[in-house]
């Protein structure tokens, strides 16, 4: 049993955090971080990516934490700047982090990223695929809604029942007024 490290405070991540994943990498933990550097930079640049599920879910925490740090300390804080400098490979995106993403996410109460499961491509790619995106981006929604939802049989029946109930109520009220 360990004691929690209380030296630096962190914000709570607003999604279900999985235990640390291992990624096969000949460069060890340093190479592991380098993978996430690339994904994180690309995510900040393009705001929506399709990639392997494991890698997307693991990178998600790094993105959220980096934005949390930027919100908490701002660009004047030396350690935060150092962090951003390490994580963001394309340096012009540092401005985007502090000037676009921080104001966008300042009052958010949900996670800053969203992870969708994506279909894997048969028969070439066997791994689970995922779409990772920053919330509040300009693209149309990934989620598809059934536009014929109102025409489903149970919804038709429910609507009819609701309507009938409402008509009965109106009748009751009308009777009360008459008396």
């Amino acid at each position: 049993m360990n004691q929690a490290n209380v030296e630096n405070l962190v914000n709570k991540l607003r999604y279900n955090v999985k235990p640390r994943r291992k990624f096969g990498n000949s460069d060890g933990p340093e190479g592991r971080l380098r993978k996430f550097q690339k994904t994180l930079t690309a995510l900040i640049k393009y705001e929506r990516l399709e990639l392997n599920y494991r890698r997307a879910d693991e990178t998600r925490g790094y993105v959220d934490q980096l934005i949390f740090e930027a919100i908490r300390h701002g660009p004047e804080h030396k350690e935060t700047m150092d962090l951003a400098n390490f994580w963001i490979l394309e340096k012009q995106l540092m401005h985007k982090l502090f000037k676009v993403l921080v104001p966008r996410y300042q009052n958010y109460t949900t996670s800053f990223t969203k992870l969708h499961k994506a279909p894997n491509i048969y028969p070439t790619i066997h791994y689970d695929r995922a779409i990772l995106e920053l919330r509040g981006n300009i693209y149309p929604s990934v989620e598809q809604y059934n536009q014929y939802e109102q025409n489903l049989l149970h919804n038709l029946l429910l609507n009819a029942a609701k309507k009938e109930f409402r008509m009965e109520k109106y009748k009751e009220i009308a009777d009360n007024i008459k008396q």
């Binding site: 049993m1 360990n2 004691q3 980096l66």
Partner: protein, 272 residues
């Protein structure tokens, strides 16, 4: 839409204000004074019900035995019952070199020299055999542990058993002792050069050992945000926990403060 937005915004502002108020009520120092109230961050060992029950037990224990504020580097005196000691009570004085564990299993390691031999005792803070814990000198050191005192000369870990408690001024911050310890020549118990210790003087090492230390260094670890996240408890959870124990802890603190200022009655002993 505009009205909805403004309502949401005002709600957010309210929430932020509430958070700030909460933070004021719970002092920021609590996480340093009572680190054992925070559970083990490893999700393998998390159990919300057990943690809550443990906190209740810890508070109950604290109402009987005052566990003072102390840090790694403070000098403590622990009085505990021991069946084989004369009078069945024993007292050990030593410097706290390490704090470990969370919940009821929280421990501290005290180190002192007895008969020119280094003695270390691991005390579980919530052990019912402990009768009294006193902090004789309240201070911090530069490092999170002082295990390197095992490889240092005896003078750094020698404290008299009849040491008088030193009192700090009311409301003063905890002083940091910036002493640099000169270690003994090798062999050592651990590879101290790899631990980035601030409280030791520059080490004299052969070329080969320096090269190996450099190869084993992990400079990227400070950027590993999720590693940091997984070895601590997030701020929101900390606030929740300290909110729960705050009033009781505050009460215990006040009673202890009152007792400290009351003069203890010492029965005069007959002489002659």
């Amino acid at each position: 839409m505009i009205t909805q937005d403004s309502v949401q915004e005002s709600q957010n502002n309210k929430k932020a204000k509430q958070n700030i108020e909460q933070r004021k009520a719970i002092p920021n120092r609590y996480r340093f004074i009572y680190p054992e109230f925070l559970p083990d961050p490893d999700p393998k060992y998390r159990n919300l019900l057990r943690e809550k029950l443990e906190r209740m037990d810890m508070l109950a224990r604290r109402t009987h035995v005052a566990i003072p504020e102390f840090y790694v580097g403070s000098v403590l005196a622990v009085t505990y019952s021991e069946p084989h000691a004369p009078g069945k009570v024993n007292k050990f004085v030593g410097i706290c070199i390490e704090r470990k564990g969370s919940g009821l299993r929280a421990t501290c390691v005290l180190r002192n020299m007895v008969n020119n031999q280094g003695i270390e005792v691991i005390y579980e803070l919530y052990d019912p055999a402990i009768q009294k814990i006193e902090c004789l000198r309240l201070e911090r050191r530069l490092d999170s542990h002082l295990r390197y005192l095992r490889d240092a000369p005896a003078e750094y870990s020698t404290f008299p058993f009849d040491m008088e408690p030193e009192y700090l001024l009311e409301g003063a911050s905890v002083p940091v002792n910036e002493i640099k310890v000169q270690l003994n020549p090798r062999p050592w118990l651990e590879k101290w050069e790899r631990q980035e210790l601030k409280g030791i003087t520059e080490l004299q090492l052969p070329e080969r050992r320096i090269r190996k230390a450099k190869a084993a260094a992990t400079p990227w670890e400070k950027y590993d945000l999720m590693k940091k996240y997984r070895e601590t408890i997030p701020e929101e959870d900390q606030n929740e926990i300290f909110n729960e124990v705050h009033t009781k802890l505050h009460e215990v603190e006040i009673t202890r403060h009152r007792q400290k200022h009351k003069r203890a009655f010492v029965r005069p002993q007959k002489t002659g």
